[in-house]
């Protein structure tokens, strides 16, 4: 996959750039500081994910976004590879707030309909149960075995579902879910 990406990146057709993408990211909460990046690579040097794979390189993603490579960034796998550990957040000399920036880009990608299957399933679980692991009688029986109080299933699932679907009709993110 990374070879394929390299080929895409090596040959850049400047006419496809969307020069407003940096503004779009800066307008999205979390992405406000994208223009501050001066590509020093402090983020990438200390990144635990970049340390084990060349699939993820935060400096390159920010640079692509600044250039206006909107489609390449929004449809990529790599924006989903930030583990949100905040190591770079603490160290960035320009306060670019990279994990928040990655989340801003992800929010835009989701609204455009690009959401990896694993995240789609997580969202579905939150809508169904209000939590990532459903609590059923079995779980509460196990908890009782260990002397723990039951998790009372109140209205949380319905309420979280309502919160997450609050403006579904206005958001295109689930247009291609195939659910």
């Amino acid at each position: 996959m990374s070879d394929e990406n390299k080929a895409d990146i090596d040959i850049i057709d400047v006419s496809t750039f969307d020069t407003h993408f940096r503004d779009e990211v800066a307008d999205e909460p979390g992405g406000e500081h994208i223009r501050r990046c001066f590509s020093c690579s402090t983020c990438t040097a200390g990144c635990p994910v970049a340390g084990v794979t060349d699939k993820y390189n935060p400096r390159r993603i920010i640079h692509m976004a600044l250039l206006g490579m909107r489609e390449q960034v929004l449809t990529s796998d790599f924006v989903w590879l930030c583990s949100v550990c905040y190591t770079c957040y603490e160290r960035c000399p320009q306060d670019v707030r990279i994990p928040e920036l990655m989340n801003a880009v992800r929010n835009i990608a989701v609204r455009e309909g690009y959401i990896p299957q694993t995240f789609r399933l997580q969202l579905k679980k939150l809508q169904l149960h209000g939590r990532l692991y459903e609590i059923e009688d079995y779980e509460n029986e196990r908890r009782a075995e260990y002397g723990l109080p039951p998790i009372q299933r109140e209205a949380e699932a319905d309420e979280v579902n309502q919160i997450l679907r609050r403006d579904q009709k206005d958001t295109p993110e689930r247009k291609d879910t195939g659910e």
Binding site: V49, E90, F119, L132, I163
Partner: protein, 310 residues
């Protein structure tokens, strides 16, 4: 440093809503058992609040407003009971702390949140303070009180003297540091070291202690996530620790529940015990292996179990 004026609870008798999140009540019952036991012994009151959901962390990358609303809804439930929030999971701590700060500072955002929450019957006024369990022990109980609570043998030696544990602080307990009032240094933290030392055990230093567990990308790219996990397992094993001590259920999923998977994927052998800090503290305080839920630890801390059963 911490603004004590926003501390609702008296430091002598801390009282909190216990926030479990998604992972702890199902996959981290040993953490919960130990936390409840030591809190009770130390005079910290934990109140169970019905209706807490996921904190909102998994929703933030997809729909940040939805994530914020989920966090605000949880805070509203605690606020309605007049309680601050105590979380066991570091990601929950981060998400709920971020929401509490934003909604305290930004009246406009709070008004929008309340418009949305009205539809599900809640209101949030921005008054709840959020703490991680370990930070509460460190700041509000204090290591001196913990040291007093440790059981010693006839020669005055703590049960855990002679053992060395590697601290794993993880990420969201410390970072982003602006959320946490400077209670510890995000690059060179010491609070978990002091907490481990209070039990009478030794702190074992190892390479790259600040390394993330990789949990944030497990669902998306398991192989890459487990490569991140492997690094710390390698480093802690090389340092010869009796175990890794941590304070977040998802870090435990990576280092303990996935330890065999890392071993088989990368032909390694660790058998590295992983303990939640309250388990370590509880054992040092004289709680039994059973009370600390050690049965639920997948990699058995055999040396410790044999010594404590003697």
């Amino acid at each position: 440093m911490t603004d004590r004026s926003e501390t609702r609870t008296q430091s002598s008798e801390p009282r909190y809503a216990l926030y479990l999140g998604c992972t702890v009540p199902v996959r981290g019952m040993n953490y919960e058992m130990a936390a409840r036991c030591v809190a009770e012994r130390l005079g910290v009151t934990l109140v169970d609040v019905d209706g807490f959901s996921c904190c909102g962390f998994p929703a933030k990358p997809l729909d940040w407003r939805g994530g914020l609303l989920m966090a605000a809804r949880n805070l509203a439930l605690a606020e309605a009971q007049g309680l601050d929030v105590l979380a066991l999971c570091s990601a929950c701590t981060g998400t709920l702390t971020e929401a509490s700060h934003r909604l305290k500072a930004d009246a406009e955002l709070r008004a929008w949140v309340n418009e949305q929450l009205a539809g599900v019957g809640h209101t949030y006024n921005g008054t709840v303070r959020v703490r991680h369990f370990a930070r509460m022990l460190y700041e509000e109980v204090g290591v001196d009180v913990l040291r007093e609570a440790i059981v010693v043998d006839a020669e005055g030696r703590p049960l855990l003297s002679g053992y060395g544990f590697a601290p794993h602080y993880g990420c969201h307990y410390l970072k982003p540091s602006f959320l946490y009032d400077g209670f510890d240094d995000p690059e060179n933290p010491c609070s978990l070291d002091r907490l481990i030392e209070a039990t009478g055990a030794r702190v074992v230093r190892y390479e790259d202690e600040g390394q993330c567990c990789g949990g944030g990308i497990l669902g998306f790219d398991e192989e890459t996530a487990l490569l991140v996990t492997k690094q710390k397992l390698d480093h802690v094993t090389a340092a010869g620790a009796d175990g890794l001590v941590l304070i977040c259920p998802f870090c435990a999923v990576m280092y303990e529940a996935n330890q065999r998977r890392v071993e088989s994927l990368y032909e390694a052998k660790y058998q590295l015990p992983v303990l939640y800090y309250p388990q370590l503290l509880g054992l040092a305080m004289g709680f039994s292996l059973e009370e600390m839920g050690i049965k639920l630890n997948r990699v058995k801390p055999r040396k410790l179990i044999e010594a404590l059963q003697r």
